[in-house]
């Protein structure tokens, strides 16, 4: 399912954080949002997942359109179930096992039978290399395992779009490869993915398209190889040199 962001604007306390942001991600695509700190990357992600209201513009996920007024309050996303979010700090529920983290929303929110949801959750956990950790407590997992558990939790809700906030920032180099593997796995399931990150290697190795944000505006967008090969905007050049 494709993602279309059109003219998205968002201000907080008189400061414009996102300014007429527009871009598309094709169905099953894997896109990156790059930008310096404070460029508005995380706010963009929060607007897309419904955690942050926006003032103007449209978010369109496979034809399900959210306009500014619908997104005006904080709370559960109007795109609930369609858009999953993997947090930078994972936000696994520490009082539940890895499996129960995955099952809570399908069973309690969607009213699925536990058996059906469990089969799916176990499949995701297995594919993400957590087959032996289903009954573990989140605090007993390594950083990479937690990241993958968070992805499995989001996937069990069968989203059409999965958003990631800085998926490698908390991980050392060896664990980063686990995450890149996970992103590739998810792409095979034809889920559209958007990754907000500072991690140039991750972008280069795993993503197809890239959107560069600078002070709330899209300054450059296009296929990853093209943007990395010949960056046009000064902000992109600065990022790639860093």
């Amino acid at each position: 399912m494709s993602v279309r962001v059109d003219d998205l604007s968002c201000a907080r306390g008189g400061t414009r954080i996102l300014d007429a942001v527009s871009f598309d991600v094709a169905e099953g695509g894997l896109a990156a949002v790059l930008g310096a700190s404070g460029a508005g990357k995380t706010t963009l992600l929060r607007c897309l997942s419904g955690l942050e209201p926006f003032d103007r513009g449209v978010v369109d996920v496979g034809g399900r359109v959210v306009i500014a007024s619908e997104a005006a309050r904080r709370g559960p996303s109007p795109l609930r179930g369609w858009v999953g979010l993997v947090f930078q700090t994972f936000e696994l529920f520490p009082h539940l096992s890895v499996l129960d983290n995955c099952l809570l929303a399908p069973v309690r929110v969607r009213g699925e039978s536990r058996a059906v949801a469990e089969e799916r959750a176990r499949a995701h956990l297995h594919r993400l290399g957590l087959g032996t950790k289903v009954d573990a407590w989140p605090d007993h997992l390594s950083g990479g395992q937690r990241q993958r558990a968070a992805i499995a939790r989001a996937l069990t809700m069968q989203p059409r779009v999965l958003l990631y906030d800085e998926p490698t920032s908390a991980l050392d180099v060896s664990l980063r490869n686990e995450v890149i593997e996970a992103l590739r796995d998810v792409r095979e399931a034809n889920i559209t993915q958007l990754v907000v990150t500072h991690d140039l290697r991750l972008v280069r190795e795993a993503t197809e398209t890239v959107v560069v944000l600078d002070r709330g505006r899209v300054v450059e967008a296009g296929p990853t190889a093209a943007v990395f090969g010949a960056p046009q905007a000064p902000a992109t050049q600065r990022l790639l040199l860093a």
Binding site: S49, G75, E91, R108, W137
Partner: protein, 542 residues
């Protein structure tokens, strides 16, 4: 010998309520609401039934008294505390017989007996109520049934206050608050020391040198002063006080019936027989009852007084008491512990926890007006004494037509008070859960209330359990305040047994063990729950 086993207090309703609590918490809430509503209806002041007709229809005279006051009025038998005895118990039984009904004492704090009477908690108050003008302003009094001299007790060998001419100025005299004796002490320029507890403590203080004398009615003097070898009762009478039965001002027919019954009992010699048995017959009473014979007949033994003297004149050593006396207190402490526990559980689980949850959630996640309400609730309730809240609920609300049952009033006052503390515990718990957890729940499609139930609540609970346990134990102890509303819980039982068995140290240990016995299991349970929840985290939540 006359004694009473059916001693009434709010716990009758209490045990019923708790029975239902085991079946279902909802049933208890419904019970509370229904009880409250039916009481509202009963409390409506528009059509007051005539008390005389009412008690005859019921077949029972309910009389208010305080067993804490002690011998010889109404007190637990020191040898078998499940039996309530005293000359007023026999008097009430004789009165009830004349009215064609049985008699049933209702426990109430002595200082509050007239308030409780006007609240219609019982038909009459009969407990050494002194005939005085200010009493007639709030109730009507029968003809006197007993007249007592005011007697001064001093330490044996202390001659300073022994004579009639002694100057009392500069001395400290112990007595009961609001009594005729207190007025005499003040009138003679002595410093007065009054006691809320039992009479035994007044004489213990004298023996221990904390006061120089005790001025009290002759019956008290006889039962607590004269039996202590370290004390001596002086000869002179410093005044006289008459006891009467108090009825509500509007109950004219009942008053007339009681006056008639007292007349008959006096004429038939029944009153005299009771007083002689208790060693209380005196010239003042003889004159008041129109009996020409002022001295007690030698043929009638003061057997009740002798039994008292044998039982508590000399207190056996501790281990002897543990063996021979304390086992008999088990049933009465057990009942009191059951009341303390059930009241505390209902107050905490049915009132404090749910109300506290609503207040905490309103405060953390509610819109502004709800947040302000929650803050106001916490500050007002936390900032005013529980005793004041309980008094308003029980004695104040009937003025607005809302008459709460003692158990309901006690549970509500305790529960609503502790709800403020609980709200703060839960707020602390909720705020200890990172905000990302709520957002993660939202991003998975949960509503805020689902997030609270499944994600935030369980994590907040772990943080809140230690202070909750602390609060429950504190509530368990604060429940002793409900003796104000006629409930005989553990502390009240201790204080009344201590007074009638003249034993405050040993029974103090016993009652402390009872409190520990009902409080410790909860502490252990909480620790286990905490471990269970805590075992899932290696590090604390931040």
């Amino acid at each position: 010998m006359c004694c009473v086993r059916g001693w009434t207090d709010g716990s009758g309703q209490a045990s019923g309520l708790v029975g239902r609590a085991r079946a279902s918490g909802l049933a208890v809430v419904l019970g509370l609401v229904v009880g409250l509503l039916s009481n509202v209806v009963r409390g409506a002041p528009s059509s007051l039934p005539d008390t005389l007709d009412e008690l005859r229809a019921r077949g029972e005279l309910r009389w208010g008294a305080d067993a804490n006051g002690g011998a010889p009025y109404i007190f637990p038998d020191p040898m078998d505390p499940t039996r309530i005895m005293g000359f007023e118990v026999e008097l009430a039984a004789a009165l009830a017989r004349k009215l064609g009904v049985t008699s049933r004492p209702v426990q109430g704090q002595w200082e509050s007996l007239l308030d409780l009477l006007n609240r219609r908690d019982f038909d009459v108050a009969l407990n050494g109520i002194e005939v005085a003008e200010e009493k007639r302003r709030v109730c009507a009094l029968s003809r006197p049934y007993y007249v007592a001299a005011e007697k001064l007790t001093v330490r044996r060998g202390d001659e300073r206050l022994a004579s009639k001419e002694a100057d009392w100025r500069g001395y400290t005299i112990g007595t009961l608050p609001g009594s005729v004796a207190e007025r005499i002490v003040i009138g003679r320029g002595a410093m007065v020391k009054t006691y809320e507890g039992g009479q035994n403590q007044i004489y213990l203080d004298l023996r221990d040198g904390r006061t120089d004398g005790v001025l009290l009615d002759e019956p008290v003097t006889r039962y607590y002063g004269s039996i202590d070898p370290a004390l001596a009762v002086t000869e002179h009478s410093w005044g006289a006080v008459a006891y009467a039965v108090a009825v509500r001002s509007e109950d004219v027919r009942l008053r007339t019936a009681i006056d008639g019954a007292l007349d008959e009992l006096a004429r038939e010699g029944e009153l005299r027989r009771i007083y002689e048995r208790w060693g209380l017959w005196n010239a003042e009473t003889a004159r008041a009852l129109g009996d020409p014979d002022e001295t007690a007949r030698a043929s009638v033994a003061a057997e009740a007084f002798e039994a008292w003297r044998t039982a508590v004149g000399e207190i056996p050593p501790f281990w002897e008491r543990v063996r021979s006396r304390y086992p008999a207190t088990f049933p009465i402490f057990f009942r009191a512990a059951l009341l303390t526990l059930s009241l505390s559980l209902v107050a905490f689980m049915v009132v404090a926890v749910p109300v506290g949850l609503v207040v905490a959630v309103s405060r953390v996640y509610g819109p502004a007006p709800l947040r302000w309400l929650a803050v106001a609730y916490v500050e007002v309730v936390r900032g005013t004494p529980l005793l004041v809240q309980l008094t308003i609920l029980y004695f104040g609300l009937p003025e607005l037509g809302l008459k709460l049952d003692p158990f309901v009033a006690g549970a509500l006052a305790l529960g609503l008070n502790y709800a403020a503390a609980e709200a703060e515990n839960y707020r602390a718990g909720l705020q200890a859960v990172p905000v990302g957890q709520l957002e993660a729940a939202w991003s998975l499609g949960m509503t805020t209330s689902q997030a609270l139930r499944f994600v935030l609540g369980p994590q907040a609970l772990r943080v809140a359990i230690p202070p909750m346990t602390n609060d429950f134990i504190a509530l368990l102890k604060d429940s002793s305040l409900v003796s104000l509303v006629t409930l005989t819980e553990l502390t009240k039982t201790y204080s009344s047994l201590g007074n009638s068995m003249r034993d405050h140290l040993g029974l103090g240990v016993v009652v402390a063990l009872w409190y520990l016995a009902i409080g410790l299991p909860f502490a252990l349970l909480a620790r286990a729950a905490e471990r269970r929840l805590g075992g899932r985290h290696r590090r604390p939540l931040r």
